[in-house]
């Protein structure tokens, strides 16, 4: 077929395009993925028994704010990378900000704590399982976000996959906060971040394979 005829074929009867298609598909993915992660948390791990007291505790909300901020930055990054010709842009500093905040707070807390308490602040009691729990909880979101991204047009597949992975890790961490009993800032800075890195790596590995179009 000649290119001229092919152009006619593409242009004939062309339907108007929904300009908000990408926002819609991402919100659908976030809702489905978030629901999936919350349901998995409740079924597999259960909600922490003192959740009512926690809702009035500022520290609990700080803990929730950390993955929420990271997730917002990852969403910005993912939605930019899902479009041809866009770079990460503002998403990079937005990503660095919550990390720097939590890490500097962790540093301060560890530095000011008595030496014998430092290990328990950093390791808590669940450090062995925490990153893997988060990774497991991120599976529904990872699938949902990849599926949303497939409907768009990412051109840097590895990076786009990593951003999708980080986004799903952040969603999973928010859900995991319903269960996780750890309240030490250094713990979040280490094990939550590690937990989010696992789906990020998985996304980077899967991106070139599943995001091709």
């Amino acid at each position: 077929m000649k290119t001229d005829d092919f152009v006619s074929l593409l242009a004939a009867g062309v339907a108007p395009v929904d300009r908000h298609a990408s926002a819609k598909s991402f919100s659908r993915a976030l809702i489905l993925g978030g629901l999936g992660s919350v349901i998995l948390t409740v079924l597999l791990y259960g909600v922490r028994p003192d959740i009512h007291a926690m809702l009035g505790t500022p520290l609990f909300w700080f803990k929730l704010a950390f993955p929420l901020l990271l997730g917002a930055a990852a969403l910005l990054l993912a939605s930019r990378l899902a479009r041809p010709g866009q770079t990460g842009g503002n998403a990079w500093p937005a990503l660095a900000l919550p990390l720097l905040l939590v890490w500097s707070a962790s540093g301060l807390i560890l530095w000011s704590a008595p030496p014998e308490l430092r290990a328990s602040l950093l390791l808590g009691v669940t450090w062995r399982s925490c990153p893997f729990n988060i990774a497991l909880l991120s599976v529904p979101s990872l699938i949902a976000v990849f599926w949303a991204m497939r409907g768009l047009a990412p051109t840097r597949l590895r990076l786009a996959g990593a951003a999708a992975g980080l986004l799903s890790g952040a969603i999973a961490t928010v859900a995991y906060c319903l269960h996780c009993p750890e309240m030490g800032v250094p713990f979040w800075g280490a094990w939550y971040v590690l937990g989010m890195l696992i789906p990020t790596l998985a996304g980077a590995l899967c991106g070139p394979r599943f995001l091709r179009w």
Binding site: M1, T3, L9, G85
Partner: protein
Amino acid sequence: MLLLAGLDGDAAAYRSFLDELSGRLRAFLRKRLYHLQDDVEDVVQETLLAVHNGRHTFRADQPLTAWVYAIARYKLSDFLRARSRHEALNEPLDDYLEIFTGSDEQPAAAKRDIGKLLELLPDRQRLPIVHVKLEGLSVAETAQLTGLSESAVKIGVHRGLKALAAKIRGLA
């Protein structure tokens, strides 16, 4: 802007956009596929299809050239990757048989026939494309003719063009 009018459903504006785009793409790809001039038209058509299928990802506040060339580069590297994989398995004929390089008279003819690929699609995708896109019938007329619902016709066109892109990718 022609593309923006096209995104709102103005077929004539969209056509002129694609026409102008194919000229620019051809120039862009000719330079980069220096030794593979025969393949230029294939990649032009592949990129046009990708632009069409991905047109909902364009944002009005973004430079059009950056968007278009990012897609073109993506399709070009896809093509080169597939080709190098193919070359590793096959002895290139080009070195011996000059006789096959006779396509100069028809610079706009692609080696791969998208019309033939179209025939490989299932009926529920192929018929909507043939009626709406090639014969110029309306969606309602096509629905009546094929017995599909109107939304099924629209979905068939949409999915069919995506499936076409996937078929090209599988062949490459």
